[in-house]
């Protein structure tokens, strides 16, 4: 599988390869069949896999419910929710249906569905097209929450999620779709278990835990800091839940300093779970207060300069890490 792909192409390749290898995989969503996806993630797939990549009406709630039923009957549906913000219209089916059916049925039912949905600010679509809502789902028993940051992860994590018998909310980065590229490479899946975090940069000064497109921002910040001798260890969480405590603990025990960076709103965001876990489990390993860096308590505005003022970026991360390292 040679050659560079964009992040969006990696998603498409993963869908294609799962469609090819498992006849029970179907893909459902708006504008995915005739158009090929507003972010091209399904382009060409409807032609290659006839009748298995299907446009739905504007009905997110019924679409997810339909996928749940299809999963009960033996398919492995992948649903695309066009922008993560719209997932609010399907919350009931995801949370009261998909997430709970196994438990409510005493194990009789499994719901192997994947809900793919792009998040991120950065496209000038305004407050209802830019939210990071993964924390909601991480809070819900029964769901797995994936958030890939690279081309190989977009590909391999999506394949893994489609093969997962648990319902997975798969949060893609629309910021990275056409910016991030790379080779898929061989499956670099965790040596220990499928939900491993990955240390993407080694360092001894501060552990920076992040995911999605904030990984690249954090890495860029780390490079600048290295000039001044501050060496960040950057951990790409990959899965918001389950999150890989072993990898985190090992890193934090080495650096004794923890910074969490995400694009979701900081208040009650997933960083607070990581922070709380570390604060109670690694209390004696910490030399400084844990810091969170995330989007402040506001919707994402339309104007580009206002948006940039809210969402974390390499410069802000750099200065926050510098403060923490000096602490």
């Amino acid at each position: 599988m040679a050659g560079e792909l964009k992040y969006a192409e990696a998603i498409r390749r993963a869908l294609a390869d799962e469609l090819a290898s498992d006849p029970n995989v179907v893909v459902m969503g708006q504008e995915i069949e005739a158009l090929g996806g507003v972010f091209t993630a399904t382009q060409g797939l409807a032609e290659s896999f006839e009748g298995r990549v299907l446009d739905t009406p504007l009905a997110e709630s019924a679409t997810v419910g339909w996928a749940i039923g299809a999963a009960m009957a033996g398919l492995r549906p992948v649903v695309e929710i066009m922008f993560m913000d719209f997932i609010a219209t399907a919350m009931d089916q995801i949370v009261n249906g998909a997430a709970k059916l196994r438990y409510m049925s005493g194990g009789q039912i499994t719901v192997p569905i994947v809900i793919r949905t792009p998040s991120d600010a950065g496209t000038g679509h305004g407050p209802q097209h830019s939210q990071h809502l993964e924390t909601w789902f991480a809070h819900v028993p029964g769901l797995v929450v994936a958030m890939p940051s690279t081309v190989p992860d977009a590909y391999w994590m999506l394949r893994q999620s489609i093969r997962d018998d648990n319902p997975v909310v798969f949060v893609e980065s629309k910021y990275l779709y056409f910016r991030e590229s790379g080779e898929i490479g061989p499956e670099s899946r965790g040596t220990a278990h499928p939900y491993e975090a990955r240390i993407v940069r080694n360092g001894h000064s501060v552990t920076v835990v992040t995911a999605g497109r904030m990984v690249a921002e954090s890495l860029a910040a780390a490079e600048s800091l290295a000039v001044d001798g501050i060496e960040c260890e950057v951990v790409d969480l990959r899965f918001i839940w389950p999150y890989d405590r072993e990898t985190l603990a090992q890193s934090i025990e080495r650096t004794n300093r923890l910074m969490i960076v995400h694009e979701a709103v900081q208040d009650f965001g997933w960083g607070s779970e990581i922070c709380s876990w570390a604060a109670s489990e690694l209390f004696y390993s910490l030399d400084a207060p844990i810091r969170r860096l995330a989007t402040p308590r506001a919707p994402i505005p339309f104007a580009a300069h206002l948006e940039s003022a809210l969402v974390p970026n390499r410069t802000i991360i750099e200065s926050a890490v510098r403060d923490l390292a000096m602490h």
Partner: protein
Amino acid sequence: MTTPEETPSSRSRPSALDLYETMVRIRELETRIESLHYSGKMHGSFHSSMGQEGAAAGVIGCLRSTDLVTSTHRGHGHAVAKGMSPTTIVAELLGLQAGSSGGKGGSMHLHDIGCGFLGENAIVAGGVPWAAGAAWASRRLGKDLVAVSFVGDGGAAQGVFAETLRMARTWGTPLLVACENNHLAHSMPVERTFGEPGSIAAWAAGFGIRAEYVAGDDVFGVHRIAAEMIDEVRITGRAAFLEVEVWRVRAHSLNDPDYRYLPRDLGKSHLQTHDPIANAERSPELSDAEIAAARERVTQEIADAIEAAFEGQAAAESLATSGVYTEAFEREAQLRGW
């Protein structure tokens, strides 16, 4: 159904007695469950379908055992008609390990995949897209089956319900929606939301699917039209809608002080005029001897079932946190402290 007679290309053909017996089985089971609640032996919510048995027996009576059903919060009758064991149901309502969900689901969460009962749902109308999707998927997987989704008149107001019918029109799916119009969504009269009986079907027809109305106090009538429609759904693979008018005898649930919004004796009077069981007994289809025998059989069966259920053990407390994810996943989670 006791032993549904099935041929590959046709529906099961229950006898009049089969239909009758199913209704009696539902009535007997729910009546006994009610008593268990009153005597403090059961806890939690309970929504009786007393008076509505004609819909459950009539519609489900034309399904094959491989066909699928989704249900509502008021679904014991649907479960029983689809072949779910009363013992398993009662055990579930008692919160026992042998219950269909090991005590995790309770009265509004009966599921029995083995007999095609995909389950109840305590979210009104939430199960409708499940049935649509399951039927659609089964068809793709080469199975000749249909699904029936029960919903109430109240549920027909929910957004997901309209969305599902729209999607059923767009995609096609061998689904029959059986809408039990019992005149009330809890305390809201259907006249305020839809209008006279039949108006839900009239509205559903606007989705471009076949939609019919039938009176649910005549199980044979329900069965006739349902059988015809289900045959058609099976052959065409297209969705259809059947409004079954039924009469709610009990309060909305055991907790419901229905005298606040209904005349005190309305339920009783419904039993006088619209009881599908009494009506069946008055019909020429059944002899007195058959009726008596069936009643005796069922009474004994349910008594035995309840006795058997009471022999079960409570689920271990440690199970409360398990069964959320797949087993392999949970082993890993335990190991790694997730």
